[in-house]
Symmetry: C2
Subunit: 210 residues, 2 copies
DNA sequence: TCTGTTTTTTAGTGATCGTTATGGAAATCC
DNA sequence: GGATTTCCATAACGATCACTAAAAAACAGA
């Protein structure tokens, strides 16, 4: 992002990246508003004043943790663009989500889906930031579908927007089921079923695109 | 449920059902833990002591509001059982959800999806109660799909569980998109696309089952 | 009217919320 | 070794959290 000012004075006694990662995991598990600063300081191993000088406030800390969770948007955009077809990209998106939501060393579900699903009016801007990430993914996938239509990979009557929306809905819906205790295997089976909604895919045709 | 004891004493000054409905709308909009009792008393037009004598505590009030939102489980079970096919039931489930999540006079999204998506460990039992409702719907739909398989309405290789899970995932995922601002029209289009994953349905075949 | 029962209002409980002032310890610069 | 700069630990800020004690108020039956 921007180079640290690197001035004189006492150096930080904690690893900022490691602390941020712990904050991310805590937000992932408990949500944004339902995670207290006390929980954060305990998980991060950092006192409250240190947290505030290093990250600003709770909201900025969450936004930074959210960006750490989501990764570089350019990476995802590249994955979608480079995939052989939009179908491959959609499958990759959903299977990766299913794996992420059921990791052994991480909280269940999706940080984006859980963190701000509920929230008071005071957290509206945080909800917008999360929604922006979703919209970015959906937009990226829709554009890729439209490209496939233009390239005659998909039939011309294909509805790009609802198809991209479905992928997002299944993804975020899987987060809910993962939180309820659904296994990775069951989520992956759902992904395979969902992909049968893709134009040109049906039943055993799936083997062709895997 | 159980007949009121109908004893002597000062009568209630407020309509309990109307107050419960306002509580439901407030929980629907802001979630369980992120709704304060102060917000509830303001929305319900009831003082805190009255709220506690009438509903117990915040948790019991939420559970009652949740049951009001979800309706009688028997009604849903009956709808699924009475539907011509499991496909009809699935379509009804998803289109009704899309309509509910984008109502003009109600909060956006699904109370079940939003209220406990995030939450501290203290609200674990509330999360379980919400998850139980989802599991009930999913189970009911899965049984209906298995019945259609047995009745040769669906092909024998149909995977009932992932198919039912997909319907739930799309439903709960639509809640997220509705909260992000998706229109009812776009959600309904996604439902139509999702239903193409159903065995035996593809493209224009949909007209046959509508 | 009097008694008993229940709900109301008023005011407040201790706990926790996010956040910060303060004072001193620690590390770099000259 | 100062001088300077930065960070850490302690403690506390006002606000809000879920919740309730106490007493007045409104009903039913006598």
């Amino acid at each position: 992002m921007h180079a640290p000012p690197r001035r004189t004075g006492r150096p930080l006694s904690f690893d900022r990246d490691a602390a941020l990662r712990q904050a991310m995991l805590t937000f992932w598990r408990h949500g944004y508003e339902t995670t207290s600063v006390a929980e954060l300081t305990a998980a991060m191993g950092v006192s409250a004043p240190s947290l505030y000088t290093a990250f600003g406030d709770k909201k900025q800390l969450f936004l930074e943790a959210m960006r750490l969770y989501a990764g570089d948007p350019a990476d995802l955009e590249r994955m979608i663009a480079v995939a052989p077809t939009a179908l491959h990209a959609a499958r990759e998106l959903m299977t990766a989500a299913a794996a992420t939501y059921t990791g052994e060393a991480t909280p269940r579900g999706c940080l984006l889906a859980s963190a701000t699903a509920s929230g008071s009016a005071a957290a509206a801007d945080v909800q917008h930031a999360v929604a922006d990430i979703r919209r970015g993914i959906e937009c990226c996938l829709r554009v890729r579908i439209e490209r496939d239509i233009k390239d005659s990979v998909l039939p011309p009557e294909t509805q790009a927007a609802p198809l991209a929306g479905l992928v997002l809905a299944v993804t975020q819906g899987m987060s809910v089921l993962a939180r309820d205790g659904a296994s990775r295997t069951s989520l992956l089976a759902m992904v395979e079923v969902a992909l049968r909604a893709w134009p040109g895919v049906k039943a055993d045709d799936q083997a062709l695109v895997r």
